[in-house]
């Protein structure tokens, strides 16, 4: 990862820079999935798309070690923002610079194959996260310990409960201290004890001061508890950016 080198050189710089990002989706009134439809529309000159701007000129910067919460109502663009930062979506306009490796906890277990056993999935998922084989070999026990699923390692994942899948996924993604941790609603899965364990681990990352955390949750209390700063995105616009208390206060007040 060439980004990691730059990051080391400029450790005090921003971990995430979102510069004037606009994300435009073509909301085709109907999705054209086959050639016939496409050519008919083309011939009729009806091939216009309704534009939908999920994000409009969003800019913010996150310092290394900052813990930032993203708040906003459903469909306001929080997840789109996270996906742009995670590098899954490419912004239509503007740019998003990320320095360092990302541990995305967006929908845990995304890279899992349900037919494979937990052990096989750990390697597959580890590869997708950019770990080396040697590293996974060495830390396999640690991952299993954290997930507390010793007896089920050679069972296909399709027999797992969703909570168990989330445990494994969280354990893999956080086995190494990432540069940037993206947490999207992940803490709502699993039982209370595991939720606590996850929060403790995230708290541990936060306290280390090296890990930049981007946190999305519908629980305003959780955001207030974990984050120092909050960014409020509403209908694709950046509404507010500041200390967590002020933003959450304003966010709550909009309903009154």
């Amino acid at each position: 990862m060439s980004d990691a080198k730059n990051a080391a050189a400029a450790a005090e710089e921003y971990a995430v820079e979102v510069n004037d990002v606009t994300m435009i989706f073509n909301m085709a009134s109907e999705q054209l999935n086959n050639l016939k439809e496409y050519f008919i529309k083309l011939a009729k000159h009806e091939l216009f798309f309704k534009e939908f701007r999920a994000l409009k000129h969003i800019s913010f910067k996150v310092r290394r070690g900052d813990v930032v919460g993203l708040v906003g109502t459903n469909g306001s663009g929080k997840s789109t923002m996270l996906k742009v930062i995670a590098g899954v979506l490419e912004p239509s306009e503007g740019e998003c610079i990320v320095r360092g490796n990302i541990a995305p906890l967006i929908e845990l277990g995304a890279g899992f194959d349900m037919e494979l056993t937990a052990r096989e999935n750990i390697y597959l998922n580890g590869a997708l996260l950019g770990y080396t084989k040697q590293f996974i070999d060495e830390h396999l026990d640690e991952i299993v310990d954290f997930a507390e699923l010793h007896d089920f390692m050679d069972m296909p994942l399709k027999n797992y409960s969703s909570g168990m899948v989330a445990r494994i996924a969280f354990a893999i993604a956080t086995i190494t201290e990432p540069d940037i941790l993206i947490v999207d609603e992940t803490l709502s899965v699993g039982d209370v004890f595991f939720q606590q364990k996850c929060e403790e681990r995230i708290q541990h990352f936060i306290e280390s001061g090296d890990v930049t955390v981007l946190f999305v949750s519908h629980s305003i209390e959780q955001v207030e508890r974990i984050c120092k700063r909050a960014v409020w995105i509403e209908k694709g616009d950046l509404r507010m950016d500041g200390p967590v208390k002020e933003v959450c206060e304003a966010y709550r007040n909009q309903f009154n």
């Binding site: 060439s2 999935n33 995670a86 899954v88 929908e107 194959d113 494979l116 390697y123 080396t132 190494t176």
Partner: protein, 277 residues
Amino acid sequence: MADTSSRSTSTHAKTGFQKDIFILKQLVSKDFKIKYRRSFLGVAWSVLNPLLMMIVMAIVFTTIFAQGRNGSVTPEMYPLYLIVGNVTFAVMSDSTSQALSSIIQASSLLKKVKVHRFVFPVQKVLFSLVNFAFSLIAVAIVMLWFHVVPTWHLLLLPVCLILLMFFCMGLGLLLSAATVFFRDVMHLWSVVLTAWTYFTPIFWTTDFIPMMDSHILRVLMYANPMYNYLQFMREIFLFQTCPTPLEFGLCVAWAVIAMAIGYTVFHKNEHKFILYI
């Protein structure tokens, strides 16, 4: 928890290339495990399948269609002619039909994790090459059975495989990208593959080509990329000669053309994939 200095050196792959290689390995082994999970004979099927296919086809085509009675391929050579053609063509047909839907199948992943998108179609080609390696055992069994002694020409096998691999990767990249936007490709490609099977001398011998009336048809037959790859394979396995310069040149040209088109189309469109999957 690793400290900062060791983190950048040991936990994560140093280059994107290293990461991709590990992902490719993991995906191929995943496909392999899933393919043979819960089957009693397991990986033996990779050897048995081409053998059984060859036996069935050899019986049908030597008795009913009288292939291998005259011309360049004798009845003793016909089974080997058949199996070499079959397993080589299978590399192309398996890998392209798998690669076709690979991007769509990986959609849940592509929506959440940043990963180079080309690994999915490329992985399918590599997987079919692994299968090919196993079917080589079947080819060896047939060679033993008919007392065909391999010669140094077999050293050219890696050359042929690499060219075939690039040809399949190019096709796979092109098809996987096209399928994202137009799902029709899936249905169309199975028809194309069937047509391609019949127009390539897999079970019929190449002696028929000079007998064709239409000049254009003959040119098309000789230009057919799969004809050239199959000829290459049969020459080194069966006829124990080197491919003619023309055949070799066409093998190279098709690999380069397929890769150039496949890569360009894939690369130009890959950033739009996520909006369609």
